[in-house]
Structures are given as C-alpha cells and as structure tokens.
C-alpha cells in the first residue's frame, strides 16, 4: 500500500476504534443495545468476507448469505442434534464454509461476470431450498432451537450478552486484522489486478482460477464463521436465514460503507443497523428505503463512505506532493512536444529541471527522449 492509504488505515485509527468498541457495553443505555451491536458485528464479519471476493477481487457473489446459513446450520445441527460443544462445531462450520466454497468456487469461477453472478444466485437459492426441504437434516421450516452457546472459560459465561459481545468483538478484530494484512499484501494486489481485468491479470502471470478460488474460499470461511457466531448468539435459526434478502442486505452494507475498502464493511453495517434500529417501524419495510438507496449509491456515490474519504485523502496528498514538482498548472500535453531538448539531466524527484517551468510531464517526456537513448536504469 502506498503511504497515503497507510495514513488512513493507520494502526492508531484501528486502536481507537477498538477502544471505543471495548467501552461500548459500559456506555450503552441498556443490554438490548449491546445485543444489537454484537449482532451487527457478526454481520460485519460476513461483510468482510463479501468484500474480499466482491470488493477486492471484483466477482459479485450472490450466494454469500447461503454460506452464512451453512455456517449457522453446521453449528445448530451439531450442537442441538448431536450434542457437540460449541467450539468444535464452530470449527466445523469454518471447515464447511471452506469445503463448500471450494466446490462451488471451482465450478462457478470459470464463469465470467454475469454468468458468475447468476450462477451464484442459483447456488444461494439451492442452499435455501435444501434448508427448507431437507427435513431430516435441517428440520425444514421449523428450524432448529436450543443451539448451544459457546462454552465459557472459568467464570466467563457466554450466554450473557456482554461476554458474548466481547467474544464477537474479538472475532471482528481478527477479521479486520486479517483483511488488513491481506489487502496490503502481494496477494491483495493480485486480487485487485483481477478486479481491474482478467486479461490484464493473466498477462501479468497471475493464475486466475487459483487466485479467484482462494479469494472465494477466504470469503466463504468468513461467512460461515460469522454464521456460526450468529447461531451461538441468537440460538434459534430457520431456513429464512438462507433467503437471499440477507445477501442483498450485506451488499447494501458493503456499498454504503465502501466496497473494496478496509473500514467500509464495518462502517456500512453499523450505520445501516443503527439507522434501522432508530426507525423501528422501518424494519419490515426497510427495502423501500434500501432499494432506492442502493440504486442512488451506485449511480452517484459508488465508492461509499470509506472509499470516498480515502479517495479524497489520497487526492489531497497527491496534490500536495506534486505541488512542489509541478510549478505550472498547465495541463496542455502539446507543450511537451516542444520541450524535447536533448542533454538535460534525468528527471527525478531531485531533478532541477523544474526551472524550465514546463508542465511536469512535459519534462518527464524530455528526460525520456534525452537521457534514455543512452540507456540507463534497468540493470
């Protein structure tokens, strides 16, 4: 990542946010608010997953809610029907997310753009149908009750709201931490190259399938683990969890917060969750607001909150940096053609050729036709 984005994603910002989250249960008006926040964190973890495949890698996965449901049902079935403890069931949920992600990804990611979106929409629907119809395994429309909560450590009891809140916060912090590492790494760059264009990425030697599947599996593991936590906190689930409304909710969170950004998933999820809470009557008809909101966002505000902020910061920083290198504001590229005086020194950050008062790239051009024919630079 460039210096600019580093400023925005500065560890200090994250530490402050984490501190705020840590004190939230003590300043919250009531336990219900803590519960709502914990649930919002759970969804945010899943949205971080969606951000990896859709935001970074550019593949619109419409089955994301299905993988969330798979994780939730894994925990529910194993704890309620088979008497497992929460933690091993939670681990199996993550594994299930990876395995199903691998299988679905291996088939679907060979498809481009629209085909991929439509295919995953169908996969999401198949998951929903199976949850609804496969009575023997999922209890059908009745759903599953009495899901075990996470086992506590010592005197920590996760059936209470506050300890659970901190548990979810821990996983959220982990999700943000991993996403941050991923995003800033060569792997994150690889994913973003694929987002720009499949052809470009391949021409740079990037194995499309392998990297897309990797991004997809990471995203489904996030979703399934979030689903597992959801089962642990809500402790009752039904097939409606697989309804694709949940996928669309998550797309809305991601888009509002800022697709392809580090803090976007969290910002968007929290903002919409609390807005919905603020207007309780909105809950059922929230889509009357969400629907047009989605449309307006993609048309007028496609970068979301975090993305717009980031772009503004980057732009400002870039302007500051180039200010001392670009004395003239002239953007006329025609000026470049007259400035090719041979013999000037190579332009660099410390070049003195600013003195010519030519526009910045006129002089980069100059150094080209001048110094470059002698050949320098590449060892």
């Amino acid at each position: 990542m460039s210096r600019l984005t580093h400023m925005f994603n500065h560890p200090a910002t994250l530490v402050v946010l984490l501190g705020l989250a840590a004190v939230f249960p003590f300043v919250a008006a009531n336990e219900y608010q803590v519960y709502v926040m914990a649930l919002a964190f759970v969804w945010a973890i899943a949205v971080y997953g969606l951000n990896i495949i859709t935001g970074y890698c550019g593949q619109l996965n419409l089955a994301h809610g299905g993988f969330f449901a798979i994780g939730a049902y894994a925990v529910a079935i194993l704890t309620a029907d088979h008497g497992w403890n929460f933690w091993p069931a939670f681990a199996v949920a993550g594994l299930a997310g990876a395995v199903f992600g691998l299988v679905v990804g291996a088939v679907s990611l060979r498809l481009k753009e629209h085909y991929f979106a439509i295919f995953t929409l169908c996969v999401g629907f198949i998951i929903y149908m199976l949850l609804d119809k496969w009575d023997a395994l999922t209890h059908g429309p009745l759903g599953i009750i009495s899901i075990s909560p996470p086992d506590g450590f010592g005197f920590v009891d996760f059936t209470e709201t506050r300890p659970f809140y901190y548990l979810v916060l821990f996983f959220l912090a982990l999700a943000v931490f991993f996403t941050r590492r991923l995003s800033a790494s060569l792997l994150g760059r690889t994913f973003r190259a694929i987002r720009i264009s499949d052809d470009l990425a391949q021409s740079l030697g990037i194995n499309l399938m392998r990297n897309k599947i990797l991004a997809f599996v990471i995203s489904t593991v996030y979703a399934a683990l979030a689903g597992g936590l959801y089962a642990g906190v809500v402790r009752f689930i039904g097939p409606d969890l697989g309804n694709f409304m949940h996928t669309f909710d998550m797309i809305a969170y991601l888009l509002v917060g800022g697709i392809g950004t580090l803090m976007g998933p969290l910002l968007g999820t929290l903002l919409i969750t609390w807005l919905t809470q603020a207007v309780q009557s909105l809950e059922e008809y929230r889509m009357i607001v969400f629907g047009p909101l989605l449309v307006l966002l993609v048309i007028f505000f496609p970068k979301g909150i975090a993305g717009s902020y980031q772009a503004w910061r980057a732009r400002r920083a870039s302007r500051e940096m180039s200010a001392d290198q670009r004395p003239s504001t002239g953007h006329d590229s025609g000026a470049g053609s007259t400035a090719s005086t041979p013999g000037t020194t190579r332009a660099g950050p410390n070049s003195s050729s600013n003195a010519t008062a030519a526009p910045a790239y006129a002089h980069t051009k100059t150094n080209e036709s001048a110094g470059d024919s002698k050949g320098s630079g590449n060892a």
Binding site: L255, Y285, I288, V295, I299
Partner: protein, 287 residues
Amino acid sequence: MEALLQQLLNGLTLGSIYGLVALGLTLVYGILHVPNFAHGALYMVGAYVAYYVAGELGASYWLAMIAAAVIVAGLAVACERLVFHPLRNAPPIHDKIAAIGLLLFFEAVVQMYWGADFRRLEAPSNTIFHFAGLTLPAQRMLIIVAAFSLMGGLHLYLKKTLAGSTIIAMAQNREGAFLVGINANRVAMMTFAISGALAAVASTLFAPINLVYPAMGHLVLLKAFVIIILGGMGSIPGAIVGGLIIGFAEALGGFYISGDYKDVIAFALLVAILSIKPTGLFSQGVR
C-alpha cells in the same frame, strides 16, 4: 401413458410462461448486456396490477391484462431511463447491484400495500375440457395459445417492422448500430417496454393457477436466467426452446422423481451444463 401426456401438457404450460419471461430478459440482455435482476419484480408487479384492476376494481380479466402490460411496460422504461441508462458505462458490478435495488424496492412497496398474503386472481373461465382421458383446464389452454401467439407476434415485429429490426441490429452489433445512426436510447426504451409487457402478460396468465404474492417473481426469475443461459444469453429462439426444456423437465421431473424438489431441477441442470460448458449450450461466443 395418459399420465405422461398430462405431464407433457403441464410442461408445455410451464414452458410457455417461462419462455415469455425469459424472452424479455434475453432481449434486454441482448441490447444492454445487463442481467436484469429486477425482471422478476416486474413480473410480480404485473400480477398485482392485474389483481388490483380485476379483483379490486372489478374490471374484466382482459382489461386487467392490458392494464398490467401497459403499466409494467411504463415501469420498465422508467427503470431503463432512471437507472440502467446512467449506469451504462459503470463497472460491471454496478448495474447488477442497481437491478437488485430495484427488485428490493418493488417487492417492499407491493408488500406494504398488499401484505405478504397469497391472493387469487380469478380466471376468465373455469371450464375444464376433457379429451381422451386428459384434463384440459381452459386457463392452461389460454396460457399456451396466448404465449405462442405473443411469441409469433414478437417474431413478426422483430423481423418485419423497421422498429423491430433496429432491436435485432443493435443486439447483434452495438457499434455497428451506432454507425448506421440507430437511436440507441429509443431502442433501449422499446426493448425494456416489450420486456416489461411480456413479463406482465405472463404473470397475468399464470396467476389464476399459481396465486399472487410478493415473492412470486423469485423462482420465475431464477428459472428465466437458467433458460437464457441454456439458450445463449441474448438469443430469442434460445429463450423459447430453453423455456420449453425447463418446463418439460420440471413437469416430468416433478412427477417421476420428486415433487418436493421439482424447483431444484432447473438449477441442477444449470450447474451440470455450466460445469461442462461455461458459456452455455447454444452461445455464439457472445459472452
């Protein structure tokens, strides 16, 4: 044998409806290269308009169908103007998300007015014909006849009229169409209008035997997508043939294999086909 014939007839009914919905979807895809996720919502709105006009205002079924077609056509054009047109040069994810936004909006509005309950649209005739041991309800006959007349009409419109041929021209070659001076905006609006009207007529035809509810468009939309992938995205004959294939597969599969899982059959087919041939069965390399 009779059971088989009966199921084939049911398959033909289903296939006719799916074909109409898929036709609209494939036309829009051919012109704008947008998979219109809101198409199922247009289908649903069509049924509600018909329900309102016939059920609540007490007008005739036929008037209700015309009203549904006109209103949904207008709605589709509005979607094109206000949403898809501004997004025509946006990155590929954006138009899909916007289409999903439209879908959510239409459903929420309908649900606010009518609730999530199932409603029934009365058929124009409840006569049931019996022929050679087969049961032929009048509504099913109407569906088949109406659907194929519409498809025939659409074919004539696209092939024989100037307006129709511009749609074909633009679907085949967008750049070429601009060069010969085709008004792209008009073609796009016309295509959306046709697609909306087809969806509304399909849902008005199907509603008397399949109830009216806000989520009624979901499955139909997904199946229509399966159909146009099967038939090649943008291909008009592909949509009709694909619709019939899915209709028959569902009727026969539902009868001979499992009624519970009949809705999965279409998707299982899709998964199987795309696993083998990622660009669809009859695609002409359009992608």
